[in-house]
């Protein structure tokens, strides 16, 4: 049985090679199409520009190379610095919630991988995105430029202050939620504008909060993603 000294290492080597193997672009296209079908449309995302954007943006390019093969799985993935690239469905849901359209100007707080900015950029005229962690911001800016998202501007700064010179915005997407909503962001939201914030642990199916500004009045609405089945109810 000396053969085992040969076969076992070979099998292990093959297995590790398989783990780091990156699928060709065509495979990713299929995976993406499948993601749109099973994770986005099947769960009720019916905002056509959002669905189209999810189909167009190559999510795997925004995922760290080592995890690229899992880019189209139904879940968030770590991207370093304690941050994640959100679950595809959450990205789509947040996008649909702010109801973006051509001509809109959107502010994103927390660029992270740049994926949400790219999805928004497929739909609206201008996306301004702010990232506080310089390594993440720089790498996202580089990638978005490489992918020719010329309508996205990335700034490395404290998102607290928003981006006053480009405001007011039709929508604000806060991807890195904080325990308070910075007053400058509320100020930079257009009358009738919408702001969306995810709430919850980064690896949980997240709850979303939609903030709407109507004149002087600001209302919030908690929205559980449709994948949730409501909890025990009184029959």
């Amino acid at each position: 049985m000396k053969n085992r000294y040969f076969f076992i290492p070979v099998i292990i080597l093959l297995m590790s090679a398989a783990a780091t193997f990156t699928a060709p672009a065509q495979v990713f296209d299929e995976l993406r199409e499948n993601m749109v079908r099973t994770q986005i449309k099947a769960r009720g995302i019916d905002h056509a520009p959002t669905v189209e954007a999810m189909r167009n943006v190559e999510r795997h390019l925004f995922v760290p190379t080592a995890r690229r093969n899992r880019a189209y799985e139904d879940g968030p993935l770590p991207i370093g610095h304690g941050q994640t690239i959100s679950q595809p469905f959450i990205v789509a849901y947040m996008t649909q919630l702010v109801n973006p359209g051509p001509g809109d100007k959107v502010l994103e707080i927390g660029t992270g991988s740049g994926y949400q900015a790219a999805v928004l950029a497929e739909i609206v005229d201008q996306v301004f995105t702010i990232e506080i962690v310089s390594e993440l911001g720089e790498s996202a800016a580089r990638l978005l430029k490489e992918l020719n998202y010329d309508n996205v501007e990335v700034k490395i700064a404290d998102g607290y202050y928003g981006w006053e010179e480009h405001g007011p915005f039709d929508a604000i997407v806060v991807t890195a939620a904080a325990e308070y909503i910075p007053p400058p962001l509320v100020d930079q939201l257009k009358d009738g504008g919408k702001m969306v914030i995810p709430v919850g642990s980064p690896f949980m199916v997240q709850n979303l909060m939609l903030i709407e500004k109507n004149g002087d009045e600001i209302t919030t609405r908690s929205i559980m993603p449709v994948t949730f089945v409501p909890f025990t109810r009184k029959e």
């Binding site: 506080i132 607290y160 308070y180 709430v199 919850g200 199916v205 559980m224 025990t232």
Partner: protein, 794 residues
């Protein structure tokens, strides 16, 4: 030789216990404190597996004992100093948050687990070898072993005050090496002296160049340190935790702030303890007339009344203390157990908070809040509790922390401390699915029902913002004027009343809408009365039944029976994050049980054994392995409340238990040690355990007001008799076994180790599921097994 042997075994045991506590401390800094259970089990697994090796190779090892003992002790020291650095270097640092999403992390965790096993295994092998070789002197040796462990527990506290966490393994590693040097055989003196001196070089290098402790990137402090210009401006090390103050131009704090707030949320430094959020250093001045908390739901009690005498439980950095003073309180009792953080705020950071903790109106109490409540006789107009959970949740990492401040009994104590105009205020973050909010509500309602108030609904007010809910429990019914004030406050801040006498349905979600009415329906069921609440507690997918002193796990919500249902609803990938702490203990339990069986029990079946006494060995030593740890864990938990500090409780109980058990073991060498003797001793232990199970809590509560020193003496007096008798059955059993079938001695050592491993995790699971009382009952049953084993052989 004998004296040196006793000293060596004591020194080695002291270092092993201290090293175990050091690893627990380091892992709670790098990851989270639920890994403490992993370390306890790794240590005990090391002991169990060493028994297996001894059983398989005892002849070979005993023949070479003069060389093996010093060698093993020196190797144990070397591995202690280097294992952290080596495991980080070889396997990288695992991140517990990623274990469920990244399989590489799992391998890294398992390899780290195995690496940590090494020093314990080597150390335990040395101790076990001594037992096997000198079994006739087991009583005195076991005494030295336990006494050393007791001292090690106390010494580690001293080390935590003196050295930085990353230096601690190198410091403690010196002691096993010294223990080894003491046993160097005369004929090998030269070789061993060189080896010993060389082996001190590594700890020295690692002391002066300690390995960097790589923190999980999901720890609060890691995220803060990623902010621009972030830096650690102050650092203190202590048994209370590794305290770090982080400063950055982007650290702000304004939890659940109303969207009516138009000012600037100021930048402030933040204090972290073991890398976890402790509190913000909130700039405050005695001249302030407003406070940003006025724009949060936390302001609710001050809207209802103007409280003069306030108690702030778990005061942290003093945020609520400052708010109370700004809102006109004339006397504030700030209760906080973390002395190091409080001293930092009182002295070096005093200028930042305008000497808040030295303010004439502030009385600082450095105790756990519940212990303070039990020992204090003052009355308060307002008791403010700490905010429950954090924004976005902590994924249940605190699930297994005993929270004696949030039990039904604690609320009853608070209710009794209230003046006629008194209130209890508690704020929780909204969580999805609702757990904290419902459990708080259930606890408050049960307080009102127990107090037998006429119309409970008129004693509770709650206001909900976009992220938080503040509940206020009032001693007297809410007046119409107060109701009006609450309505005004809510609409002026874009908040919504949740509970208010006479509330209309549409008022509840005017500014902050929920997707549907489910949350309101659930809350109303709890509010409507005990019967409906009880039905909901049984039906709901999470455990939201109010916690009690017997099961003080407020943040534990997971029901094992609903796990598959939750997986169906949230997806299997998300489930671990609903309650990672308890799930880790569950997984640890299964994994330890399997590992213990594979590493400890199975090999012993292959070795074969001669003679009888096999059933006796299994029963006698399993009973002891289970029973001893069950009792120890319950005592630690009970004394946490008594001393108001988990660290001192653990140190006091561990040391008193081990030293007194050691004394019992020493005494056991003076009695004949027949099965009849063991039956008697075990019987006494069982009676003691049952008495302690019933009377310990009331006895502790009735003496909690004693001065600290008297409490220590009293607790030693309480623990001593039980521990003394618990120290006897193990050495007596080993001695009996050595007479009847010597080959089974190492096996007995292994079985005892194996069951001790399993019992640590099992005790916790029983405590969570059934309460501490039942852990004591199980301990009595475990000793009952030992008793029966001896009764059959008498």
């Amino acid at each position: 030789m004998t004296k040196r042997l006793f000293f060596s075994i004591g020194l080695l045991s002291a270092s092993i216990i201290a090293f175990q506590l050091i690893l627990m401390h380091i892992l709670s800094i790098m990851q989270w404190n639920h890994f403490a259970y992993m370390i306890i089990s790794v240590a005990l697994l090391g002991f169990g597996a060493s028994g297996t090796l001894l059983a398989l190779k005892s002849k070979w090892l005993v023949e070479r004992i003069r060389v093996m003992l010093p060698l093993l002790m020196i190797l144990c020291g070397l591995s202690m100093s280097s294992i952290l650095a080596v495991s980080e270097w070889l396997f990288g640092t695992f991140d517990s948050y990623l274990i469920f999403v990244d399989t590489d992390q799992l391998y890294s965790l398992v390899l780290t687990y195995l690496a940590f096993f090494i020093p314990f295994f080597i150390g335990a092998l040395a101790i076990g070898l001594i037992y096997v070789a000198y079994v006739k002197k087991i009583g005195s040796l076991y005494f030295a072993d336990l006494f050393g462990s007791g001292i090690g527990g106390l010494a580690s506290l001293l080390l935590f005050w003196t050295f930085f966490p990353s230096q601690l393994p190198a410091v403690i590693a010196v002691f096993p090496v010294i223990a080894g040097i003491l046993l160097i055989p005369a004929e090998k003196k030269r070789v061993f002296t060189i080896i010993s001196l060389a082996s001190l070089v590594l700890p020295a290098i690692l002391y002066f160049n300690p390995p960097e402790l790589k923190l999980s990137e999901y720890k609060s402090i890691s995220k803060a340190l990623d902010l621009p210009d972030a830096q650690i401006v102050k650092e203190r090390t202590s048994p209370y935790g590794h305290i770090q103050v982080v400063s950055s131009g982007a650290l702000r704090y304004a939890p659940g702030l109303s969207m009516r707030f138009k000012g600037e949320v100021p930048v402030r430094d933040v204090i972290y303890s073991n890398g976890d959020w402790f509190g913000p250093v909130v700039s405050w001045s005695r001249e302030d007339t407003t406070h940003f908390l006025d724009y949060t739901t936390n302001a609710l009690p001050f809207v209802i009344n103007k409280p003069e005498k306030v108690m702030v439980a778990d005061a942290g950095t003093g945020l609520f203390v400052a708010h109370s003073i700004v809102r006109g309180a004339s006397s504030v009792a700030a209760v906080e157990q973390n002395r190091v953080a409080v001293d930092l705020l009182k002295n070096e950071l005093a200028a930042d908070i305008d000497s808040l903790f030295s303010h004439d109106a502030v009385r600082l109490e450095k105790l756990q809040s519940r212990s303070y409540l039990l020992s204090d006789t003052s009355s308060y107009d307002l008791i403010i509790l700490p905010t429950i959970e954090t924004f976005g949740g902590t994924s249940g990492i605190h699930a297994l922390n005993e929270q004696y401040l949030l039990t039904r009994e604690a609320f009853k104590d608070m209710w009794e401390r209230l003046t006629d105009r008194g209130m209890i205020a508690i704020t929780t973050w909204m969580d999805y699915p609702a757990r904290n909010t419902l459990k708080v509500l259930g606890t408050l309602m049960s307080t009102l029902h127990e107090a037998d108030v006429d119309d409970p609904g008129r004693h509770l007010i709650a206001v909900r913002g976009w992220g938080t809910v503040t509940f206020v429990l009032k001693k007297t019914p809410v007046t119409e004027e107060q109701i009006e004030k609450v309505r005004e406050f809510s609409s002026s801040k874009f908040f919504d009343p949740l509970f208010l006498p006479g509330i209309k349905k549409e008022e509840r979600a005017r500014y902050n809408m929920l997707q549907d009415d489910n949350f309101f329906e659930l809350a109303d069921r709890i509010f409507s009365g005990p019967e409906e609440a009880e039905k909901l507690y049984s039906e709901y997918d999470f455990n939201i039944r109010p916690s009690t002193d017997n099961r003080p796990y407020f943040s534990q919500f997971l029901k094992w029976s609903r796990l598959s249902h939750l997986a169906e609803m949230f997806g299997t990938g998300s489930v671990p994050f609903i309650e990672v702490g308890y799930l880790v203990v569950g997984i640890t339990f299964v994994q330890i049980t399997v590992a213990a069986i594979v590493l400890i029990i199975l090999p012993l079946f292959f070795m074969g054994w001669r003679g009888g006494y096999r059933a006796f060995t299994v029963l006698h030593f399993s009973g002891l392995g289970l029973g001893f740890m069950f009792v120890e864990i319950v005592l630690i938990q009970r004394f946490v409340l008594y001393f108001g500090s988990p660290i001192y409780a653990a140190a006091a109980v561990l040391s008193a238990m081990l030293i007194c058990s050691g004394a019992g073991s020493y005494f056991s060498s003076r009695i004949e040690g027949t099965h009849r003797d063991i039956v008697k001793m075990t019987g006494i232990v069982i009676i003691f355990i049952l008495l302690y199970g019933i009377f310990l809590t009331p006895v502790l509560l009735s003496t909690i007001t004693l001065p600290f020193l008297l409490k220590i003496l009293f607790s030693i007096a309480l623990i001593a008799p039980l521990a003394f008798f618990m120290g006897m059955p193990f050495p007596l059993g080993l001695r009996t076994l050595s007479v009847h079938n010597n080959t089974l001695v190492p096996w007995a050592w292994g079985i005892n180790g194996c069951l001790s491993v399993i019992s640590t995790a099992l005790a916790l699971i029983i405590a969570v599921e059934a309460g501490f009382f039942w852990v004591m009952v199980m301990a009595a049953l475990a000793y009952g097994i030992t008793l029966l084993a001896n009764y059959a052989k008498r």
